[in-house]
């Protein structure tokens, strides 16, 4: 018997429930569509658009029944993720050179498309199609043994739930924002302005709070009964797991360790993130968008925040949780986590590029027995290019920005506020910049001073 079966009776049966829920969701959608979507012409007759959803829902119902009846013979069961798709996904995402590039570039492309195509995205039918698409992809992927090993790990279940909730809230935001942007353009009052009448907190708010508390309690109890909370073998300091991962909400930071040393990725950048978050209200001088959803009135602030939250935080958590396996190598969604997977990456420091490749000479020596001052001078000589570039990026670039592209911003913000703002922006972009440098040039450190644990 296959020790790693793609399908077992339990999995097929569970997926039967999954498709049954999907069927029920779409049955409700049929009703909504019948009431709201109207009709279309097909071969000369009027057909309600809902009939297509009805067909789709019926198909889901049949798929569900097929799962329930087919669960006795999982090996012969046909509805599963095609091998060719899995192989292709693993070859691209699981490739150590290509994988991170594809993943990050893909999340950026998705992010840009989301903003550019927001007017299409917020059409309810489009949102529903996206939700169904992602659920079907998840359901089909669950027919893979290795995918299940990662996604169904107790600690990772909340992350999957979070992805759908973040997706939904983001969609909801754009739906409200696009609506308000249209109202502004047409000179109509904002949605929020139309709902300013005062109502009593008892009963309207107090009762909804009570209902909310009951629902959350029920969800938690059901969750606690259905799924055992994470608990592994007893602690053993002699047995290091591979990979060793931080708690899931810190995996974005752990992913940064690939590109930056711990003092930056683990200490300085988290502090900057928190400081930057606290600084937001003092930097954002835009008075518009206070207390209502909108995009166009504050597109820059919203895009920046969404960029930090979606591709740089949530997507990094996905990458760290689902795609980083033993030795922090990248693995495809359907790939076996092989401890012996080899990743040959020969990364080179900027100073080595300069002295060895460009100048064709030898690296300047740093005498470890010399005094601190002598060493500092020798290190300065060796690393001058990286130090100049780093200082240029953080010290010279902000004034240049203030004098050129950000002149209007600089005048409205004033000196101190602009300097804080520009440095926060540059530090936020430092991660993508280092990623691109690593992928394109195998660059290890821009400034490498291992003598003092000071590597950038």
């Amino acid at each position: 018997m296959d020790p790693h079966p793609d399908l077992t009776s339990g999995v097929v049966f569970g997926l039967g429930w999954f498709y049954l829920i999907l069927f029920a969701m779409n049955a409700c959608w049929v009703v909504r569509s019948y009431k709201q979507d109207g009709e279309m012409h097909l071969f000369g007759i009027e057909v309600p658009k809902a009939s297509f959803w009805a067909l789709y829902a019926a198909l889901l119902g049949m798929v569900s029944i097929a799962h329930f009846t087919g669960s006795s013979q999982p090996d012969a069961f046909l509805i599963r993720m095609p091998e060719i798709f899995k192989d292709y996904a693993d070859l691209t995402i699981g490739n150590s050179k290509l994988g991170p590039v594809l993943f990050f570039a893909g999340s950026i492309v998705g992010f840009v498309l989301m903003i550019v195509l927001r007017e299409i995205l917020v059409v309810p039918t489009v949102g529903w199609v996206l939700l169904n698409g992602s659920l079907l992809l998840l359901g089909l992927s669950m027919t893979d043994y290795d995918f299940r090993q990662i996604v169904a790990k107790p600690d990772n279940v909340p992350i999957v739930a979070m992805l759908f909730i973040v997706g939904y809230t983001t969609w909801l935001y754009f739906a409200r924002a696009v609506d308000n942007d249209r109202r502004v353009k047409e000179g109509r009052p904002l949605y929020e302005e139309e709902h300013q009448e005062k109502i009593l907190v008892w009963p309207d708010l107090v009762y909804s709070e009570l209902v909310c508390m009951l629902v959350i309690t029920a969800v938690l109890v059901a969750w606690g009964i259905a799924l055992d909370a994470p608990l592994e073998e007893p602690a053993n300091a002699a047995k290091t797991p591979n990979p060793s991962k931080a708690p899931w909400y810190f995996l974005g930071l752990q992913e940064m360790l690939v590109y930056y040393d711990p003092w930056l990725a683990g200490v300085v950048f988290p502090s900057v993130i928190l400081g930057g978050l606290m600084a937001i209200p003092y930097i954002d001088y835009n008075k518009k968008g206070n207390g209502y959803y909108c995009f166009e009135d504050r597109w820059f602030a919203v895009s920046t925040f969404l960029f930090g939250f979606l591709p740089l935080w949530v997507a990094m958590i996905i990458l760290g949780t689902f795609l980083r396996g033993p030795n922090w190598n990248i693995f495809g969604f359907y790939e076996y986590w092989d401890v012996h997977k080899l990743e040959v990456l020969n990364n080179v420091n900027l100073s080595e590029y300069f002295w060895l490749t460009l100048m064709g000479g030898a690296m300047p020596k740093v005498d470890p027995s010399a005094g601190a001052a002598t060493q500092a001078v020798q290190i300065l000589v060796r690393e001058w290019l990286g130090i100049v570039l780093t200082l240029g990026y953080l010290v010279v670039l902000p004034p240049v920005m203030a004098a050129t592209v950000c002149r209007r911003m600089f005048h409205r913000m004033g000196f101190l506020r602009f300097m804080v703002f520009s440095n926060l922006m540059l530090l936020m972009l430092a991660l993508p910049i280092k990623m691109v440098l690593r992928w394109a040039f195998n660059l290890k450190y821009i400034v490498a001073v291992p003598e003092w644990f000071f590597n950038i």
Partner: protein
């Protein structure tokens, strides 16, 4: 006279609730002003300010989850012993044999949920521009609460004392080793020395402060237990009080005054 009327007209009932049931407009206002738990709220509110599609209710859910974590956490403290000998054993027993051992499942899942809802709360507050004047400072308090929520979750991660726990904490706390100036593998730690002796060593740096030892061990378990059950919750409770008070003083959850 019905039994309900009899109870409601008794001296005991009237000493607790100083007004008739909130069934008419006047008493619906009075109940908000006289009830300790309800006076957190204003008496009346703009209808869009409580619409679910506007608020997502994430701040409220986060607070409720904090209460759930407190209640289940206190119950767990009656049972769980933070020692190397018993910690894992007690968690296993909670899962397999203890009556109401489901408290541990709820506590753990609730903690995960709280991390997510606190992010989404921040997400909503940002997207509605609710950090803008006059609510700048409350946003700062909120960011502090976000950090403390993550720290609560992080310190709680260690307590089951399983493989997941000690290695996640090892990976997380290894970062402290690299703290500039204060970590024994951080840049600039050599600058802190007295007469050639390093002040920052493996036994005195930021990581040691966090773990109470050179490696994750019993001292760490004790330290994280106190942080998780007493120290951080006290700070969080204080900041939550300030956070809510400021919401009222700044004129509701959003919109200019």
């Amino acid at each position: 006279m019905s039994i309900g009327d009899y109870i409601r007209s008794s001296q005991i009932w009237k000493s607790i609730f100083r007004h008739p049931a909130p069934v008419d407009r006047r008493n619906r206002i009075v109940v908000m002003l006289t009830n300790f738990f309800l006076h957190l709220h204003p008496v009346s509110i703009k209808s869009q300010g409580i619409a679910l599609s506007y608020t997502w209710c994430m701040g409220g859910i986060t607070f409720f989850l904090f209460l759930v974590e407190t209640i289940t956490g206190v119950l767990l403290m009656f049972y769980y012993r933070p020692t190397l000998e018993w910690a894992y054993h007690d968690i296993m027993a909670l899962r397999d044999v203890t009556t109401l051992g489901i408290m541990r499942e709820i506590h753990r899942w609730g903690a995960h949920a709280m991390v997510i809802t606190v992010w989404l709360h921040m997400y909503r507050v940002f997207l509605t521009g609710s950090y803008k004047p006059p609510r700048e400072f409350n946003w700062v308090v909120g960011v502090l609460l976000l950090v403390l929520t993550l720290l609560l979750s992080f310190t709680g991660y260690l307590l089951p004392w399983d493989q997941l726990a000690i290695w996640a904490i090892t990976v997380g706390s290894n970062m402290a080793r690299a703290t500039p100036f204060l970590g024994h593998e951080g840049p600039g730690f050599q600058l802190l020395n007295l007469g050639g002796f390093d002040l920052i060593t493996k036994g005195s740096d930021a990581r040691f402060l966090l773990l109470g030892a050179r490696e994750v061990g019993e001292a760490t378990l004790n330290r994280f237990y106190i942080l998780h059950c007493v120290a951080i919750p006290l700070v969080v409770a204080t900041l939550i009080a300030i956070h809510f008070w400021r919401v009222r003083k700044d004129g509701g959850i959003s919109q200019p005054l």
